[in-house]
Subunit: 232 residues, 2 copies
DNA sequence: GTCTATAGCCGGATAGAC
DNA sequence: GTCTATCCGGCTATAGAC
Protein backbone atom coordinates (compact mmCIF):
# COMPACT_ATOMS: atom_id res chain seq x y z
CA UNK A 1 0.00 0.00 0.00
CA UNK A 2 1.24 3.47 -0.81
CA UNK A 3 -0.32 6.89 -0.33
CA UNK A 4 -1.92 6.94 -3.73
CA UNK A 5 -3.60 3.60 -3.18
CA UNK A 6 -4.79 4.69 0.21
CA UNK A 7 -6.28 7.84 -1.27
CA UNK A 8 -8.14 5.91 -3.91
CA UNK A 9 -9.70 3.77 -1.26
CA UNK A 10 -10.25 6.21 1.55
CA UNK A 11 -9.78 9.84 0.56
CA UNK A 12 -13.16 11.51 0.56
CA UNK A 13 -13.96 14.54 -1.51
CA UNK A 14 -14.27 17.51 0.80
CA UNK A 15 -17.99 17.61 0.09
CA UNK A 16 -18.38 13.95 0.97
CA UNK A 17 -16.53 14.51 4.21
CA UNK A 18 -18.86 17.25 5.32
CA UNK A 19 -21.88 15.37 4.05
CA UNK A 20 -20.90 12.61 6.47
CA UNK A 21 -20.47 15.27 9.11
CA UNK A 22 -23.92 16.69 8.51
CA UNK A 23 -25.57 13.32 8.47
CA UNK A 24 -23.94 12.34 11.75
CA UNK A 25 -25.34 15.37 13.53
CA UNK A 26 -28.36 16.24 11.37
CA UNK A 27 -30.84 15.77 14.20
CA UNK A 28 -29.33 18.60 16.20
CA UNK A 29 -28.69 21.04 13.37
CA UNK A 30 -31.42 23.60 12.70
CA UNK A 31 -30.81 23.96 9.00
CA UNK A 32 -32.69 21.26 7.17
CA UNK A 33 -31.62 21.93 3.62
CA UNK A 34 -28.91 19.30 3.34
CA UNK A 35 -27.05 20.82 0.44
CA UNK A 36 -26.79 24.26 1.98
CA UNK A 37 -25.94 22.88 5.37
CA UNK A 38 -23.07 20.78 4.04
CA UNK A 39 -21.63 23.72 2.19
CA UNK A 40 -21.81 26.06 5.15
CA UNK A 41 -20.55 23.54 7.66
CA UNK A 42 -17.49 23.09 5.52
CA UNK A 43 -16.88 26.82 5.58
CA UNK A 44 -17.46 27.08 9.32
CA UNK A 45 -15.26 24.18 10.28
CA UNK A 46 -12.42 25.13 8.01
CA UNK A 47 -12.51 28.63 9.47
CA UNK A 48 -12.51 27.13 12.96
CA UNK A 49 -9.38 25.17 12.10
CA UNK A 50 -7.70 28.23 10.72
CA UNK A 51 -8.46 30.46 13.68
CA UNK A 52 -7.78 27.77 16.27
CA UNK A 53 -4.42 26.96 14.76
CA UNK A 54 -3.26 30.53 15.04
CA UNK A 55 -4.79 31.48 18.36
CA UNK A 56 -6.33 28.42 19.98
CA UNK A 57 -9.98 27.55 20.01
CA UNK A 58 -10.57 29.04 23.44
CA UNK A 59 -9.44 32.48 22.40
CA UNK A 60 -11.19 32.40 19.05
CA UNK A 61 -14.33 34.50 19.28
CA UNK A 62 -17.52 33.80 17.42
CA UNK A 63 -17.31 37.28 16.00
CA UNK A 64 -14.02 36.35 14.38
CA UNK A 65 -15.60 33.18 13.12
CA UNK A 66 -18.49 35.14 11.67
CA UNK A 67 -16.07 37.47 9.89
CA UNK A 68 -13.94 34.65 8.58
CA UNK A 69 -16.94 32.71 7.25
CA UNK A 70 -18.76 35.82 6.01
CA UNK A 71 -21.77 34.74 8.00
CA UNK A 72 -23.57 36.68 10.66
CA UNK A 73 -23.56 35.71 14.31
CA UNK A 74 -27.19 34.75 14.06
CA UNK A 75 -26.59 32.54 11.06
CA UNK A 76 -23.69 30.82 12.79
CA UNK A 77 -26.00 29.89 15.60
CA UNK A 78 -28.29 28.14 13.18
CA UNK A 79 -25.51 25.63 12.55
CA UNK A 80 -24.12 25.24 16.01
CA UNK A 81 -25.85 25.26 19.35
CA UNK A 82 -22.96 27.03 21.04
CA UNK A 83 -19.22 27.39 20.92
CA UNK A 84 -18.47 24.32 23.00
CA UNK A 85 -20.61 22.11 20.84
CA UNK A 86 -18.64 23.13 17.79
CA UNK A 87 -15.49 21.76 19.39
CA UNK A 88 -17.26 18.65 20.58
CA UNK A 89 -18.63 17.85 17.14
CA UNK A 90 -15.20 18.11 15.59
CA UNK A 91 -13.79 15.67 18.12
CA UNK A 92 -16.66 13.29 17.71
CA UNK A 93 -16.55 13.32 13.96
CA UNK A 94 -12.84 12.59 13.77
CA UNK A 95 -13.28 9.74 16.18
CA UNK A 96 -16.16 8.37 14.14
CA UNK A 97 -14.24 8.63 10.90
CA UNK A 98 -10.91 7.33 12.16
CA UNK A 99 -12.51 4.32 13.75
CA UNK A 100 -14.23 3.46 10.49
CA UNK A 101 -10.94 3.53 8.58
CA UNK A 102 -8.89 1.78 11.25
CA UNK A 103 -11.38 -1.06 11.52
CA UNK A 104 -11.01 -1.67 7.81
CA UNK A 105 -7.25 -1.46 7.84
CA UNK A 106 -4.98 -4.40 7.18
CA UNK A 107 -3.13 -5.99 10.03
CA UNK A 108 0.58 -5.83 9.34
CA UNK A 109 2.65 -3.43 11.38
CA UNK A 110 3.76 -1.44 8.37
CA UNK A 111 0.25 -1.12 7.06
CA UNK A 112 -1.19 0.08 10.32
CA UNK A 113 1.51 2.67 10.67
CA UNK A 114 1.04 3.80 7.12
CA UNK A 115 -2.72 3.86 7.51
CA UNK A 116 -2.35 6.13 10.50
CA UNK A 117 0.06 8.49 8.75
CA UNK A 118 -2.02 8.63 5.58
CA UNK A 119 -5.21 9.23 7.51
CA UNK A 120 -3.61 12.01 9.52
CA UNK A 121 -2.47 13.57 6.25
CA UNK A 122 -5.92 13.52 4.71
CA UNK A 123 -7.48 14.90 7.88
CA UNK A 124 -4.51 16.88 9.13
CA UNK A 125 -6.42 19.89 10.48
CA UNK A 126 -8.79 17.58 12.29
CA UNK A 127 -5.99 15.62 13.92
CA UNK A 128 -4.15 18.78 14.85
CA UNK A 129 -7.24 20.35 16.33
CA UNK A 130 -8.15 17.28 18.35
CA UNK A 131 -4.67 16.94 19.75
CA UNK A 132 -4.30 20.58 20.71
CA UNK A 133 -7.83 21.22 21.88
CA UNK A 134 -8.72 18.09 23.79
CA UNK A 135 -8.72 20.28 26.89
CA UNK A 136 -12.00 21.78 25.81
CA UNK A 137 -13.74 18.51 26.40
CA UNK A 138 -15.33 17.35 29.59
CA UNK A 139 -13.72 14.34 31.22
CA UNK A 140 -16.33 11.97 29.84
CA UNK A 141 -16.02 13.34 26.37
CA UNK A 142 -12.26 13.13 26.52
CA UNK A 143 -12.45 9.43 27.15
CA UNK A 144 -14.75 9.03 24.22
CA UNK A 145 -12.56 11.12 22.01
CA UNK A 146 -9.51 8.92 22.40
CA UNK A 147 -11.33 5.67 21.70
CA UNK A 148 -9.84 5.44 18.23
CA UNK A 149 -6.41 6.24 19.59
CA UNK A 150 -6.66 3.31 21.95
CA UNK A 151 -7.86 1.13 19.10
CA UNK A 152 -4.72 2.04 17.19
CA UNK A 153 -2.49 1.46 20.19
CA UNK A 154 -3.99 -1.95 20.91
CA UNK A 155 -3.49 -3.03 17.34
CA UNK A 156 0.17 -2.07 17.54
CA UNK A 157 0.69 -3.93 20.79
CA UNK A 158 -0.95 -7.10 19.53
CA UNK A 159 1.10 -7.22 16.37
CA UNK A 160 4.38 -6.49 18.12
CA UNK A 161 3.69 -9.10 20.77
CA UNK A 162 2.92 -11.63 18.05
CA UNK A 163 6.07 -10.76 16.16
CA UNK A 164 8.12 -11.21 19.28
CA UNK A 165 6.51 -14.56 20.04
CA UNK A 166 7.32 -15.73 16.54
CA UNK A 167 10.87 -14.53 16.86
CA UNK A 168 10.55 -12.03 14.04
CA UNK A 169 11.09 -9.08 16.38
CA UNK A 170 13.60 -8.95 19.16
CA UNK A 171 12.10 -8.83 22.63
CA UNK A 172 14.41 -6.23 24.14
CA UNK A 173 11.50 -3.93 24.92
CA UNK A 174 7.95 -4.74 25.92
CA UNK A 175 5.32 -4.39 23.19
CA UNK A 176 3.59 -1.63 25.17
CA UNK A 177 6.85 0.28 25.43
CA UNK A 178 7.52 0.05 21.73
CA UNK A 179 3.98 1.11 20.91
CA UNK A 180 4.39 4.05 23.28
CA UNK A 181 7.48 5.13 21.35
CA UNK A 182 5.90 4.68 17.96
CA UNK A 183 2.94 6.93 18.61
CA UNK A 184 4.77 10.24 19.05
CA UNK A 185 6.72 9.48 15.88
CA UNK A 186 3.44 9.37 14.00
CA UNK A 187 1.95 12.38 15.76
CA UNK A 188 4.85 14.47 14.59
CA UNK A 189 3.59 14.29 11.03
CA UNK A 190 0.43 16.23 11.76
CA UNK A 191 1.64 18.28 14.71
CA UNK A 192 4.64 19.69 12.88
CA UNK A 193 3.21 19.52 9.40
CA UNK A 194 4.57 22.96 8.54
CA UNK A 195 8.10 21.81 9.36
CA UNK A 196 7.96 18.90 6.95
CA UNK A 197 6.40 21.10 4.32
CA UNK A 198 9.17 23.64 4.77
CA UNK A 199 11.86 20.99 4.49
CA UNK A 200 10.08 19.61 1.44
CA UNK A 201 9.73 16.14 2.91
CA UNK A 202 6.98 14.21 1.17
CA UNK A 203 4.65 11.88 2.96
CA UNK A 204 6.27 8.92 1.21
CA UNK A 205 9.69 9.98 2.43
CA UNK A 206 8.35 10.45 5.92
CA UNK A 207 6.77 7.00 5.91
CA UNK A 208 9.94 5.43 4.64
CA UNK A 209 12.17 7.00 7.24
CA UNK A 210 9.71 6.36 10.05
CA UNK A 211 9.27 2.73 9.11
CA UNK A 212 13.01 2.34 8.70
CA UNK A 213 13.61 3.84 12.11
CA UNK A 214 11.00 1.61 13.72
CA UNK A 215 11.95 -1.56 11.87
CA UNK A 216 15.57 -1.31 12.90
CA UNK A 217 14.57 -0.92 16.50
CA UNK A 218 12.48 -4.04 16.23
CA UNK A 219 14.39 -6.48 14.12
CA UNK A 220 18.08 -6.39 14.95
CA UNK A 221 18.54 -9.52 17.01
CA UNK A 222 22.09 -8.84 18.15
CA UNK A 223 22.78 -7.02 21.40
CA UNK A 224 23.77 -3.39 21.37
CA UNK A 225 27.26 -2.57 20.25
CA UNK A 226 29.59 -1.54 22.98
CA UNK A 227 29.86 2.21 22.54
CA UNK A 228 26.14 2.73 22.41
CA UNK A 229 25.11 0.57 25.24
CA UNK A 230 23.19 2.46 27.87
CA UNK A 231 26.31 3.39 29.75
CA UNK A 232 24.71 3.64 33.15
CA UNK B 1 25.33 10.17 33.99
CA UNK B 2 22.07 9.12 35.61
CA UNK B 3 19.12 11.12 36.85
CA UNK B 4 20.44 11.41 40.37
CA UNK B 5 23.76 12.78 39.21
CA UNK B 6 22.01 15.22 36.96
CA UNK B 7 19.86 16.42 39.83
CA UNK B 8 22.85 16.98 42.05
CA UNK B 9 24.41 19.13 39.42
CA UNK B 10 21.42 20.93 37.95
CA UNK B 11 18.26 20.55 39.96
CA UNK B 12 17.45 23.88 41.59
CA UNK B 13 15.43 24.22 44.73
CA UNK B 14 12.05 25.68 43.83
CA UNK B 15 13.00 28.90 45.61
CA UNK B 16 16.26 29.14 43.65
CA UNK B 17 14.37 28.65 40.43
CA UNK B 18 12.02 31.52 41.10
CA UNK B 19 14.82 33.65 42.46
CA UNK B 20 16.46 33.29 39.06
CA UNK B 21 13.12 34.13 37.51
CA UNK B 22 12.76 37.28 39.57
CA UNK B 23 16.30 38.41 38.91
CA UNK B 24 15.86 37.94 35.19
CA UNK B 25 12.84 40.23 35.07
CA UNK B 26 13.35 42.38 38.19
CA UNK B 27 13.55 45.61 36.23
CA UNK B 28 9.99 45.27 35.00
CA UNK B 29 8.39 43.97 38.19
CA UNK B 30 6.84 46.55 40.48
CA UNK B 31 7.45 44.71 43.73
CA UNK B 32 10.93 45.49 44.95
CA UNK B 33 11.08 43.32 48.04
CA UNK B 34 13.00 40.40 46.57
CA UNK B 35 11.98 37.81 49.12
CA UNK B 36 8.28 38.54 48.89
CA UNK B 37 8.39 38.79 45.12
CA UNK B 38 10.08 35.41 44.74
CA UNK B 39 7.54 33.75 46.97
CA UNK B 40 4.54 35.25 45.23
CA UNK B 41 5.89 34.67 41.74
CA UNK B 42 6.23 31.02 42.56
CA UNK B 43 2.59 30.92 43.65
CA UNK B 44 1.40 32.82 40.60
CA UNK B 45 3.30 30.78 38.07
CA UNK B 46 2.42 27.44 39.59
CA UNK B 47 -1.23 28.45 39.56
CA UNK B 48 -0.85 29.51 35.95
CA UNK B 49 0.51 26.07 35.07
CA UNK B 50 -2.32 24.38 36.89
CA UNK B 51 -5.08 26.40 35.27
CA UNK B 52 -3.49 26.37 31.83
CA UNK B 53 -3.07 22.63 31.89
CA UNK B 54 -6.74 22.07 32.56
CA UNK B 55 -8.25 24.77 30.40
CA UNK B 56 -5.51 26.42 28.33
CA UNK B 57 -3.88 29.71 29.06
CA UNK B 58 -6.14 31.63 26.73
CA UNK B 59 -9.29 30.64 28.52
CA UNK B 60 -7.85 31.07 32.00
CA UNK B 61 -9.14 34.31 33.46
CA UNK B 62 -7.19 36.54 35.77
CA UNK B 63 -10.05 36.27 38.23
CA UNK B 64 -9.51 32.53 38.36
CA UNK B 65 -5.82 33.15 38.82
CA UNK B 66 -6.56 35.56 41.65
CA UNK B 67 -8.75 32.96 43.35
CA UNK B 68 -6.22 30.19 42.90
CA UNK B 69 -3.37 32.28 44.27
CA UNK B 70 -5.47 33.90 47.00
CA UNK B 71 -4.36 37.28 45.73
CA UNK B 72 -6.53 40.11 44.56
CA UNK B 73 -6.66 41.29 40.98
CA UNK B 74 -4.86 44.46 41.96
CA UNK B 75 -2.09 42.55 43.65
CA UNK B 76 -1.67 40.28 40.66
CA UNK B 77 -1.09 43.29 38.52
CA UNK B 78 1.78 44.36 40.75
CA UNK B 79 3.64 41.24 39.59
CA UNK B 80 2.67 41.16 35.95
CA UNK B 81 2.08 43.96 33.51
CA UNK B 82 -0.73 42.08 31.80
CA UNK B 83 -1.87 38.61 30.92
CA UNK B 84 0.17 38.29 27.79
CA UNK B 85 3.37 39.23 29.55
CA UNK B 86 2.86 36.44 32.03
CA UNK B 87 2.93 33.92 29.21
CA UNK B 88 5.87 35.63 27.58
CA UNK B 89 7.95 35.59 30.74
CA UNK B 90 7.38 31.88 31.21
CA UNK B 91 8.57 31.20 27.69
CA UNK B 92 11.57 33.44 28.05
CA UNK B 93 12.62 32.01 31.36
CA UNK B 94 12.51 28.42 30.17
CA UNK B 95 14.54 29.35 27.15
CA UNK B 96 17.08 31.14 29.33
CA UNK B 97 17.35 28.23 31.72
CA UNK B 98 17.42 25.45 29.15
CA UNK B 99 20.12 27.16 27.15
CA UNK B 100 22.28 27.48 30.24
CA UNK B 101 22.02 23.77 30.98
CA UNK B 102 22.40 22.61 27.39
CA UNK B 103 25.52 24.69 26.89
CA UNK B 104 27.10 22.94 29.85
CA UNK B 105 26.02 19.50 28.75
CA UNK B 106 28.45 16.82 27.59
CA UNK B 107 28.63 15.95 23.97
CA UNK B 108 27.83 12.31 23.51
CA UNK B 109 24.54 11.40 21.92
CA UNK B 110 23.33 9.52 24.97
CA UNK B 111 24.23 12.33 27.31
CA UNK B 112 22.48 14.97 25.27
CA UNK B 113 19.36 12.90 25.08
CA UNK B 114 19.46 12.18 28.77
CA UNK B 115 20.14 15.81 29.57
CA UNK B 116 17.07 16.79 27.63
CA UNK B 117 14.86 14.22 29.30
CA UNK B 118 16.14 15.01 32.77
CA UNK B 119 15.73 18.72 32.22
CA UNK B 120 12.19 18.28 30.98
CA UNK B 121 11.46 16.23 34.07
CA UNK B 122 12.74 18.88 36.45
CA UNK B 123 10.89 21.61 34.59
CA UNK B 124 7.98 19.53 33.33
CA UNK B 125 5.22 22.12 33.77
CA UNK B 126 7.39 24.71 32.04
CA UNK B 127 8.07 22.47 29.06
CA UNK B 128 4.44 21.45 28.82
CA UNK B 129 3.26 25.03 28.99
CA UNK B 130 5.72 26.24 26.37
CA UNK B 131 4.82 23.46 23.98
CA UNK B 132 1.08 23.89 24.31
CA UNK B 133 0.93 27.65 24.54
CA UNK B 134 3.48 28.79 22.00
CA UNK B 135 0.53 30.14 20.04
CA UNK B 136 0.22 32.99 22.50
CA UNK B 137 3.49 34.43 21.32
CA UNK B 138 3.99 36.90 18.55
CA UNK B 139 5.93 35.63 15.57
CA UNK B 140 9.13 37.29 16.72
CA UNK B 141 8.84 35.94 20.20
CA UNK B 142 8.12 32.48 18.89
CA UNK B 143 11.41 32.46 17.06
CA UNK B 144 13.18 33.51 20.20
CA UNK B 145 11.39 30.94 22.27
CA UNK B 146 12.62 27.99 20.25
CA UNK B 147 16.26 29.07 20.25
CA UNK B 148 17.15 26.40 22.77
CA UNK B 149 15.22 23.81 20.83
CA UNK B 150 17.29 24.56 17.79
CA UNK B 151 20.45 24.39 19.88
CA UNK B 152 19.45 20.92 20.94
CA UNK B 153 18.57 19.85 17.42
CA UNK B 154 21.87 21.10 16.01
CA UNK B 155 23.82 19.23 18.62
CA UNK B 156 22.02 16.03 17.68
CA UNK B 157 22.65 16.52 13.98
CA UNK B 158 26.34 17.20 14.46
CA UNK B 159 26.93 14.14 16.59
CA UNK B 160 24.98 11.84 14.33
CA UNK B 161 26.76 13.13 11.26
CA UNK B 162 30.09 12.57 12.99
CA UNK B 163 29.14 9.08 14.04
CA UNK B 164 28.13 8.26 10.49
CA UNK B 165 31.39 9.62 9.10
CA UNK B 166 33.33 7.49 11.53
CA UNK B 167 31.29 4.44 10.60
CA UNK B 168 29.89 4.03 14.11
CA UNK B 169 26.36 4.70 12.93
CA UNK B 170 24.81 3.42 9.77
CA UNK B 171 24.02 6.05 7.19
CA UNK B 172 20.65 4.76 6.10
CA UNK B 173 18.95 7.98 7.11
CA UNK B 174 20.20 11.55 6.98
CA UNK B 175 21.28 13.04 10.33
CA UNK B 176 18.54 15.66 10.09
CA UNK B 177 15.95 12.96 9.56
CA UNK B 178 17.11 10.98 12.55
CA UNK B 179 17.18 14.08 14.72
CA UNK B 180 13.67 14.88 13.56
CA UNK B 181 12.53 11.45 14.72
CA UNK B 182 14.33 11.66 18.04
CA UNK B 183 12.70 14.88 19.15
CA UNK B 184 9.10 13.71 19.40
CA UNK B 185 10.30 10.69 21.35
CA UNK B 186 11.72 13.05 23.96
CA UNK B 187 8.73 15.40 23.91
CA UNK B 188 6.49 12.52 24.83
CA UNK B 189 8.00 12.40 28.30
CA UNK B 190 6.71 15.80 29.30
CA UNK B 191 3.66 15.98 27.04
CA UNK B 192 2.19 12.70 28.28
CA UNK B 193 3.74 12.77 31.73
CA UNK B 194 0.46 11.58 33.31
CA UNK B 195 0.48 8.47 31.12
CA UNK B 196 3.94 7.41 32.26
CA UNK B 197 3.05 8.16 35.84
CA UNK B 198 -0.07 6.04 35.53
CA UNK B 199 1.86 3.17 34.03
CA UNK B 200 4.47 3.56 36.77
CA UNK B 201 7.32 4.01 34.32
CA UNK B 202 10.24 5.73 35.98
CA UNK B 203 12.41 8.28 34.25
CA UNK B 204 15.29 5.82 34.26
CA UNK B 205 13.17 3.19 32.56
CA UNK B 206 11.99 5.75 30.03
CA UNK B 207 15.56 6.81 29.29
CA UNK B 208 16.68 3.24 28.90
CA UNK B 209 13.93 2.27 26.50
CA UNK B 210 14.25 5.49 24.51
CA UNK B 211 18.00 5.14 24.16
CA UNK B 212 17.63 1.49 23.27
CA UNK B 213 15.07 2.33 20.63
CA UNK B 214 17.25 5.05 19.17
CA UNK B 215 20.53 3.14 19.37
CA UNK B 216 19.17 0.22 17.48
CA UNK B 217 17.97 2.47 14.73
CA UNK B 218 21.42 3.93 14.46
CA UNK B 219 23.86 1.13 14.90
CA UNK B 220 22.68 -1.99 13.09
CA UNK B 221 24.84 -2.01 9.97
CA UNK B 222 23.01 -4.76 8.10
CA UNK B 223 20.23 -3.95 5.67
CA UNK B 224 16.64 -4.46 6.65
CA UNK B 225 15.40 -7.99 6.89
CA UNK B 226 13.07 -9.06 4.17
CA UNK B 227 9.69 -9.06 5.87
CA UNK B 228 10.10 -5.59 7.29
CA UNK B 229 11.47 -3.87 4.32
CA UNK B 230 9.39 -0.93 3.24
CA UNK B 231 7.20 -3.03 1.00
CA UNK B 232 5.72 -0.05 -0.80
C1' DG C 1 -31.90 30.60 5.82
C1' DT C 2 -29.82 34.86 6.86
C1' DC C 3 -29.62 39.27 8.68
C1' DT C 4 -29.40 43.28 12.37
C1' DA C 5 -29.92 44.72 16.95
C1' DT C 6 -29.45 44.13 21.49
C1' DA C 7 -29.53 41.81 26.10
C1' DG C 8 -26.69 40.59 29.69
C1' DC C 9 -22.59 39.18 31.39
C1' DC C 10 -17.78 38.69 32.11
C1' DG C 11 -13.16 39.80 31.06
C1' DG C 12 -8.80 42.70 31.48
C1' DA C 13 -7.15 46.52 33.46
C1' DT C 14 -6.74 50.66 36.68
C1' DA C 15 -7.51 54.06 40.64
C1' DG C 16 -7.02 54.86 45.01
C1' DA C 17 -7.72 53.51 50.01
C1' DC C 18 -5.26 51.15 53.61
C1' DG D 1 2.44 45.37 49.18
C1' DT D 2 -2.33 44.31 49.09
C1' DC D 3 -7.04 45.28 48.87
C1' DT D 4 -11.85 46.91 47.06
C1' DA D 5 -14.43 49.22 43.70
C1' DT D 6 -15.22 50.29 39.18
C1' DC D 7 -14.61 51.33 34.15
C1' DC D 8 -15.41 49.82 29.73
C1' DG D 9 -14.93 46.96 25.97
C1' DG D 10 -15.96 42.71 23.98
C1' DC D 11 -17.98 38.31 24.50
C1' DT D 12 -21.81 34.62 23.93
C1' DA D 13 -26.24 34.09 22.91
C1' DT D 14 -31.01 35.33 21.47
C1' DA D 15 -35.09 37.88 19.44
C1' DG D 16 -37.25 39.10 15.69
C1' DA D 17 -37.35 41.31 10.89
C1' DC D 18 -36.79 39.97 6.15
Amino acid sequence: MNYQQFCNKHKPKQSELFAAFYDLFAKTIEIKNRKIAIEKLQIIIKATFKLSATQSFASMTLRQLADETHLSMGCLYAYIKNKQQLSLYIHQFLNFYAEKVLNNSPNTLNDIIKTHIYLSEILQPWFFFCFMESKNLSKDMRKFAIKSELLMENKLVTIIANGQKMGIYNALLAPETIAAHIKPLLHDWYLKRWKYRQRKISIDEFCLSTLTFISRGLTSPDSLTEHNKYDE
